[in-house]
């Protein structure tokens, strides 16, 4: 296995991709598609990789694939008259899950990315992967958490 492949297939990059994909799609099936497509694209374009850090390059591929697929889904939905399903009799735990999802969705893409990457990485690593300064990252984290806490109603208690 080449050096490129050992890093690409490493557990640490896999977990970054899984968490990022979940934070973008909120759906394990879409997340699986997104991660698999990212791997295939990275393998296909490995000759184009120039640099010493693979993770930011792969993360950019994942983000671009997600943007493309979202754009395509929006186009497909134009003119779709299918009515939205309304669920009834949901248990409080399901509602809490939905609140959590809704509140995470309420964050900006960047805020969700840093929260997703934080699951497995240090602030310095995240700053490197997303090309932002450590100080800026700390501010973003704090604001994102506060936004999430407000959305979840933690300040209403």
């Amino acid at each position: 296995m080449s050096n490129f492949e050992s890093i690409l297939f490493s557990d640490s990059l896999k977990m970054k991709m899984i968490n990022l994909a979940m934070s973008k799609t909120f759906n394990k099936f879409d997340a699986e598609d997104l991660v698999q497509q990212t791997y295939l694209k990275a393998l296909e374009r490995q000759d184009q990789f120039r640099g010493d850090k693979l993770d930011p390059w792969v993360i950019t591929i994942l983000k671009n694939i997600f943007i493309d697929s979202t754009r395509k889904k929006k186009e497909d939905l134009l003119g779709d008259d299918t009515p939205e399903l309304v669920a009834n009799d949901e248990s409080s735990s399901v509602l809490l899950e939905r609140d959590k999802d809704k509140c995470l969705k309420g964050l900006s893409e960047k805020e969700r990315e840093i929260i997703a990457l934080r699951q497995t990485n240090s602030y310095d690593e995240i700053a490197g992967d997303l090309d932002i300064k450590n100080g800026t990252l700390r501010q973003m984290f704090s604001r994102a958490k506060e936004k999430f806490m407000r959305c979840m109603g933690f300040f209403d208690e």
Binding site: M1, E5, F9, K14, M15, M17, I18, N19, A21, M22, S23, K28, A31, E32, V35, Q36, Y39, L40, L43, E44, R45, K100, D101, L104, I115, A116, R118, Q119, S122, Y123, R138, Q139, F141, S142, K145, E146, F148, M149, M152, F154, F155
Partner: protein
Amino acid sequence: MNENDKILINAYFDGETSPDDSKYIESLLDSNQDANEYANKIKKANYEINAFFNSDDSKELDKSISNFIEEQKKKNIKSKSNFNFFNFRFVDGVIALVNQRVAAVAMVFAITGLLVIPSFLQEDEEFFNINIEREGYVTKDGIDINQIISDTLIDMADADIKKANLQIGSELISISITNEIDNCISGNFLYINKDYQFKSCLSDGVYETKFN
């Protein structure tokens, strides 16, 4: 408690504060009720966020992606085994050279009728030969030229060679790769005074070549 304190409290629970900042936060949490309440909310938020990323869905996803990675590793190994042709030819060539090049090449040429001369090596006048029977290029319909070309294209792509010449009996085949787009290479080759086009694409870890 100011904005900077909030940033530090958040970093503190992420284990990202310096020893001095940690001491400061610990004393703040002991002395300031607002800071203490804010810290509890941060802990609760962290718990909810961690639960999202460690859900059963995420665990299942981890499993399926791990399986996918294993499949890709196997495919890549399979794909690379197709690239051994060049190495084989090189080793055989070296052996032929060591065993008195001209005699060895002439003898193999007489037996197989096939001589392969990559053009990038011609300057050194090194001759490379293959045993077409051992390589499986002889079929009931004769020599499988398409397969020889396909394998040579893989070698050329692997070694980043754009032009090569193969001599088969009295015929010389000149292969040129003229285009490389994404995972495909295309170009042409001359065989018995006829120009053929080819396109070879990497699909699922294996090259597939089509001829016109």
